[in-house]
């Protein structure tokens, strides 16, 4: 095993040279180190101005997603070891405007997330005194997988359509819409349909499937999108044979 490994880190300092460039750092190599540990070594011991997001270091907060040797990954869950002998190229997630160094702009994603109303919508709220909404294990299984999303945006970085059609609402937002649509306590499917049934909702997706491959939480957003397309299509053809029913 080598003593050190080189990292080629994407740098963008708008107030500095203004142009993005790659800066090479040599960090100590440890078998148990993740890419994030190497970045923290740089930040703590070599260049305190290096900017990137991270928080939990255990694959839960979803903030340390970056592009490592071309692949979108959570840097806290990606060992240095498979990239030996290096150099290892670390870039921000593709498809998002860069604010500084490895920090991307989340505004577009957060806006899209809000548009699909990822919360439980009830026509009439029950008061707490009426007790909780009960759910069977089967009813929970219907949406549990989609509820595992940590908003890391790796799926957006991997999606070629999001890069080509920036209006596309995108994999995680659709998976989260389905997380609530398929929840037995929710009554908001009609409202979400307004957004999902747009061309830039589910129909922009051509089922490339990269989103489900890169997802660190096994959410399967591609499956969520396909399932929504099937349901929306069946609804549409049903509305043709049943007049008065809107698709």
């Amino acid at each position: 095993m080598p003593d050190t490994v080189k990292l080629e880190v994407f740098r963008y300092r708008p107030e500095g040279e203004g142009e993005p460039l790659y800066e090479t750092f040599e960090v100590p190599y440890r078998d148990e180190w993740m890419v994030l540990d190497a970045l923290n070594q740089i930040k703590d011991h070599q260049d305190g101005t290096l900017s990137y997001r991270w928080a939990c270091r255990m694959g839960v907060c979803g903030s340390c997603g970056m592009t490592v040797n071309g692949e979108p990954v959570l840097t806290c869950a990606t060992y240095l070891e498979p990239f030996l002998p290096g150099p290892i190229r670390v870039e921000p997630l593709h498809g998002f405007p860069v604010i500084r160094d490895l920090v991307g702009d989340l505004e577009d994603f957060v806006g899209k997330l809000q548009r699909v109303k990822p919360w439980i919508i009830r026509e009439e709220e029950r008061s707490p005194s009426e007790g909780e909404y009960l759910q069977t294990p089967e009813e929970m299984d219907a949406y549990k997988r989609y509820s595992m999303c940590i908003n890391c945006m790796l799926c957006y970085a991997a999606c070629p359509i999001y890069e080509l059609e920036p209006g596309f609402i995108g994999p995680a937002a659709i998976a989260l819409a389905q997380r609530y649509n398929l929840d037995s306590r929710d009554e908001g499917a009609r409202e979400r349909h307004e957004v999902l049934a747009e061309h830039e909702g589910v129909w922009s997706c051509t089922f490339v499937g990269e989103c489900s491959i890169v997802c660190p939480k096994d959410v399967d957003p591609a499956g969520a999108i396909q399932r929504y397309k099937v349901d929306a299509t069946l609804d549409f053809f049903r509305s043709l044979v049943t007049p008065g029913r809107s698709p």
Binding site: E165, H199, P247
Partner: protein, 116 residues
């Protein structure tokens, strides 16, 4: 209008994909292997013509052809649209791809009625 267009063509696309994936290998197996080999009691051309000219078979073949053509058209439309990034030509691309599929469907219907 656009809201209706997406599920309509995607419906044809997905139904066509599923049907051809299921049926074409079977059709190929029967038409190209088991029938010529005379397995399972199927023998010659005449039997095939008799089978194919039954109204139910004709109708079925037309449905398969229709969906397969629209499946291919939709795939090709998105190959041009996303693959070559011809977004501004979407209307033209749609008319040409779905138009060709429609024309081929009419041709298939004509062949099924006139020839078989």
């Amino acid at each position: 209008m656009r809201r209706a267009r997406d599920p309509f063509f995607w419906g044809l696309f997905s139904a066509g994909g599923m049907l051809t994936a299921l049926l074409l290998p079977a059709l190929f197996l029967v038409a190209a292997i088991t029938a010529p080999m005379g397995w399972f009691g199927m023998t010659g051309y005449e039997e095939w013509v008799a089978l194919a000219s039954h109204p139910v078979t004709r109708g079925g073949l037309l449905v398969v052809a229709f969906l397969a053509f629209f499946h291919a058209a939709h795939r090709f439309r998105y190959t041009l649209y996303d693959g070559l990034q011809l977004y501004h030509l979407d209307a033209l691309i749609s008319i040409v791809t779905y138009g060709v599929a429609a024309a081929l469907t009419v041709l298939a219907a004509a062949l099924l009625i006139l020839v078989v």
